[in-house]
């Protein structure tokens, strides 16, 4: 980040930041999603810069338009909008900043949180929790504090320092694309490792073969899992994920339908002694 000279936060900006940190999504709804949270967070600044009450009403209404993004990463957008409002920027410019950035920032945030960091941390914590260790609980608490407090404050301040420049920062060097691609590659690699390590399902099936060796009949037990392992270890987990992916992508099933299909597979599979 080239522009590193810190801007001092005004009292109102600080207020807006805490409103955003503590309550941002409380009024989340289907129609305009985070809009009311955005408007209420930035309100102290609007109140300060508005010259008349009508100006203030118009400004609040402007911020009541549809808004939805990844809450912590989107803090940069709220911070930038706060700085722009203080500088008396044009309402349309602030709107286009919000609309232009909310999609890409949601992409970065969802990738960084749900695809990259949460699986790693949660799987590690789950392995401790299985053994009954309270360390699992504290790891998740710290992880929550990181995204819910630390990241939100840091990103709001980043946006506030950059103001309108955040747009050129983001789009100029293709930074968003690069971060997203980096996180995506790491995420895909990790999922590749998780599929065999977490889906530890194997088959219990075995067959008894009668073979003739030197004129004598011997019983030979063939374990299906051992045969499968020789072809490809963890073949069943791979097949299950492939099946679910095919239903989702190939057959365009909804996640809940796929979930029910897997329940059926589980019940049938355990009834016939496969699992």
């Amino acid at each position: 980040m080239p522009n590193n000279d810190r801007k001092k936060m005004t009292k109102e900006a600080r207020k807006a930041m805490w409103r955003y940190v503590w309550t941002f999504q409380w009024s989340w709804n289907y129609e305009r999603m985070q809009a009311l949270g955005f408007a209420w967070s930035i309100f102290p600044i609007l109140e300060k810069v508005a010259k008349t009450k009508d100006d203030l009403i118009a400004a609040v209404q402007r911020h009541l338009n549809f808004f939805n993004t990844h809450p912590p990463v989107g803090g940069a957008i709220i911070g930038a909008a706060a700085a722009m409002e203080e500088e008396g920027a044009d309402g349309d410019a602030i709107d286009s900043l919000k609309v232009g950035l909310m999609g890409p920032f949601a992409g970065i945030g969802d990738t960084a949180q749900a695809i990259l960091t949460r699986p790693i941390v949660a799987v590690f914590a789950a392995s401790l929790a299985m053994e009954g260790s309270m360390a699992a609980f504290w790891i998740m608490i710290l992880f929550g504090l990181f995204w819910g407090i630390f990241a939100k404050i840091a990103l709001f301040k980043l946006g506030y320092n950059q103001g309108i420049n955040i747009v050129s920062q983001v789009s100029g060097g293709g930074l968003v694309d690069r971060i997203t691609e980096l996180a995506t590659i790491a995420g895909v690699t990790i999922i590749g490792g998780f599929i065999p390590s977490i889906l530890g399902v194997s088959t219990a099936w075995e067959f008894t073969q009668t073979v003739e060796i030197n004129g004598e009949l011997t019983e030979n037990v063939v374990k299906v899992q051992e045969v499968l392992d020789q072809i490809l270890p963890y073949m069943i987990p791979v097949a299950l994920v492939g099946f679910a992916y095919w239903l989702l992508k190939g057959r365009k099933w909804k996640p809940l339908q796929v979930l029910l299909a897997l329940v059926v597979v589980a019940f049938v599979g355990s009834a016939i002694g496969f699992f």
Partner: protein
């Protein structure tokens, strides 16, 4: 042991706090491990809570509320699963109830999100009149539909559910238990499929293979795979060119 009305109320309040503090600040008390451990402490066995929470966590991988989609409610699943797991002294029973509850709760999440539309409409009206105090109130009250849609079912399930759960337990045949066990074991497949579905996976298929080989053939533990994954990603970006931002 039995669940008293006081404990039922306490756990319902914990469900309320968990979901609302996840909306903001977003500190993830809805995570099954956290929801389960606290429930376990309240009903007297944190270990059951941790174990139920751990299993639900593995099922929830890849399920994330992108752009406001609804997923099974693993938080309520962890709370009810832990409470009934402790009551019946069986983690498996708790897990069965937890999974069922998580799925049933989907409808109530949709209801909460829909009801909240009323608050922003009211806020619109107040803003038009310049009544900003009421706008504040509408925003802050927005947590009610979210919290109440968790509080009520958790309370009712714990208060009234014990008889039903005991009857269910007595009925439950072995094939059903086995089916639920297997369901729990294979459900992460959906999470991984969902994760892969959100990513341009065809473009990055080689990386999926690298991760698979690391565990399936080399037995590298999860943290090791994670370090390797980040390293591989950086390497790829550098080789692709333009290292200044990577």
């Amino acid at each position: 042991m039995e669940i008293s009305i006081g404990v039922a109320l306490l756990l319902a309040a914990w469900a309320y706090i968990g979901i609302v503090t996840n909306l903001a600040p977003g500190w993830m008390w809805h995570e099954p491990i956290i929801a389960g451990a606290v429930t376990g402490l309240i009903v007297g066995d944190a270990t059951v809570g941790l174990q139920v929470g751990a299993s639900l966590t593995l099922m929830s991988l890849g399920m994330h509320t992108y752009g406001g989609t609804t997923i099974p409610d693993f938080q309520v699943g962890a709370i009810l699963g832990t409470a009934f797991g402790v009551v019946t002294e069986s983690v498996e029973t708790g897990l069965t109830i937890g999974i069922a509850a998580a799925m049933l709760m989907i409808q109530l999440d949709v209801l909460g999100r829909a009801l909240n539309t009323g608050f922003i409409h009211a806020a619109d009206k107040y803003v038009e009149k310049g009544n900003f105090k009421k706008m504040t109130l509408m925003h802050l009250l927005g947590n009610l539909p979210w919290g109440v849609t968790r509080f009520v079912p958790v309370f009712l399930a714990l208060w009234l559910g014990e008889g039903a759960v005991t009857a269910f337990m007595e009925w439950m045949p072995e094939w059903f238990m086995a089916g639920m066990r297997t369901t729990g074991a294979i459900l992460p497949a959906l999470g991984f499929a969902l994760l892969l579905g959100q990513l341009p996976v065809k473009k990055y298929l080689p990386f999926l293979a690298i991760g698979f080989v690391l565990f399936a053939y080399l037995g590298v533990p999860v943290i090791g795979i994670s370090i390797a994954a980040v390293a591989v990603a950086f390497l790829f970006m550098q080789l692709k060119g333009g290292t200044e931002n990577a």
